[in-house]
């Protein structure tokens, strides 16, 4: 049986087409990069979820191991990991992000 924390993460990744693990919440981001990522997705108008991992160090550690990515925020789109705005912005410039989001929300 998968480790409960990993299972919780897997469920969240499947449930939310755009998922931001970060510091703080959507309404009250606690770090500049989490706020920047929230603002980044606000532009697109697609629904997204922010999960605050500050109060849950074990989950934060599991995510770091799972993604081999040491920092927060960590963004998942359609179940796949995309780092943070350092990755998403160049993708956006190359026109790779829009089709990805359309695909993710294609069947409602």
């Amino acid at each position: 049986m998968a480790d409960p924390i990993e299972q919780e993460i897997q469920d969240e990744i499947k449930k939310h087409k755009i998922l931001i693990y970060g510091k703080g919440t959507k309404a009250l981001p606690m770090c500049g990069f989490t706020r920047e990522t929230v603002q980044f997705f606000d532009k697109y108008g697609y629904p997204y979820e922010v999960v605050d991992v500050l109060p849950n160090p074990a989950k934060r550690e599991a995510l770091t191991k799972m993604t081999n990515w040491p920092t927060l925020p960590k963004v998942f789109i359609n179940g796949h990991f995309y780092g943070d705005t350092d990755i998403l912005e160049p993708m956006e410039k190359k026109g790779e992000l829009e089709p990805l989001l359309k695909e993710a929300f294609k069947n409602g």
């Binding site: 990069f33 081999n68 990515w69 040491p70 780092g83 350092d86 160049p90 993708m91």
Partner: protein, 79 residues
Amino acid sequence: MITTDMLTNYIQRIIPDAKVSVTDRTGTMDHFSIRVVSDLFKGKNLLDRHRLIYHALDEPMKDGRIHALEIKAETTDGT
């Protein structure tokens, strides 16, 4: 505190041909934007390029000398 030269040395230990430019974003020398140019990135996607740089800077990130880091990682022909 960490200096631009120390940051560059850390990176060049893992990416020997790296050209590194560092911007101190807040004047406190711990919130940085860095641009790393190397042909070692050829054929590597963005995530793996950044993972390489995080690996190179693992120590100063873990000990807090680097608090926040924005990364640009390109090859010499700017791709």
